[in-house]
Symmetry: C2
Subunit: 152 residues, 2 copies
Amino acid sequence: MDFTTARRLNQLLTSVYGDILRVEELALRKSQFKDISIKEVHAIDAISMYEHKTTSQVARELRITPGTLTTMVNHLVRKDYVMRLRSDDDRRFVRLGLTRRGRLIYRAHESFHRHMVESFAGDMNDEQLHFIEKALLNLQAFLEFADPTAKK
Amino acid sequence: MDFTTARRLNQLLTSVYGDILRVEELALRKSQFKDISIKEVHAIDAISMYEHKTTSQVARELRITPGTLTTMVNHLVRKDYVMRLRSDDDRRFVRLGLTRRGRLIYRAHESFHRHMVESFAGDMNDEQLHFIEKALLNLQAFLEFADPTAKK
DNA sequence: TGCTATTATTTTGATATTGGAACTATTTGA
DNA sequence: TCAAATAGTTCCAATATCAAAATAATAGCA
């Protein structure tokens, strides 16, 4: 790959990268959900709608310590986005779930991402999509090589 | 675009996205530059090697307030990565530059990014590269539409 | 020339995020 | 039965950040 192309591509990746979080944050400020940060939304996203994961499970997914998640969940419970459900089979576990309000924002965030992917790849044909996916998998492999704990 | 493909692509983008910073941080911990965070490296990157930008210029690029940059620069000066150079023509301005050590890390970071882009697009032909660039520009346009201040 | 407004940066005070260590509650297993 | 292990929480310290006030320098105008 030609040097200036590599440079241009890198700049493009970097600027896109930097903008995503900021745009998400901004969208929140303009929405009906003004009392929540993008990190909290990502916690809600990890907690997810269809199963009740435990605290450590979610913390591991978000790559934060359980202590940090506890305080996030405290805030999210106070703001009525998240519920704590004690497991009955093993009462050490706390299972997390979304309230009605939490489910609303979960769907809004999902929709933002769907639009983002559409803007990126909406008009591609199957072959092109496959090609993109391949490139991203290469990038993922590079990152996993640099840090083996990145594997899911 | 098919629903499950969109989903898969989104997950891929999200996981790659989340891993980049973490891998960069990890690479630092294992390098000779243990006293510096990834945010500080990005500040060094913005300060850059070949011109002496002012504090506000760099702060604007990094999208942080000048006050925040001042404290970052204080740390980076103390750790011998960055120099403050007072402009002689207008003594209100502070111009920023890299020390020998700062230039070292600048190049290391540049190299990390080059490898990352290579892993992503190293074996593509011109047509494919053009296609990728187009897709990224679409994504950028989407983000700029969502937040007009994203424009450079 | 001598103020006054403007501009660039720094300082200060407050808030938020995070990790790590100590602690509590519960379960497991010898 | 009780010591060890496990899940979660609490508490403390470190860091990052912003907004507003303070400081320093310059520009422009009467």
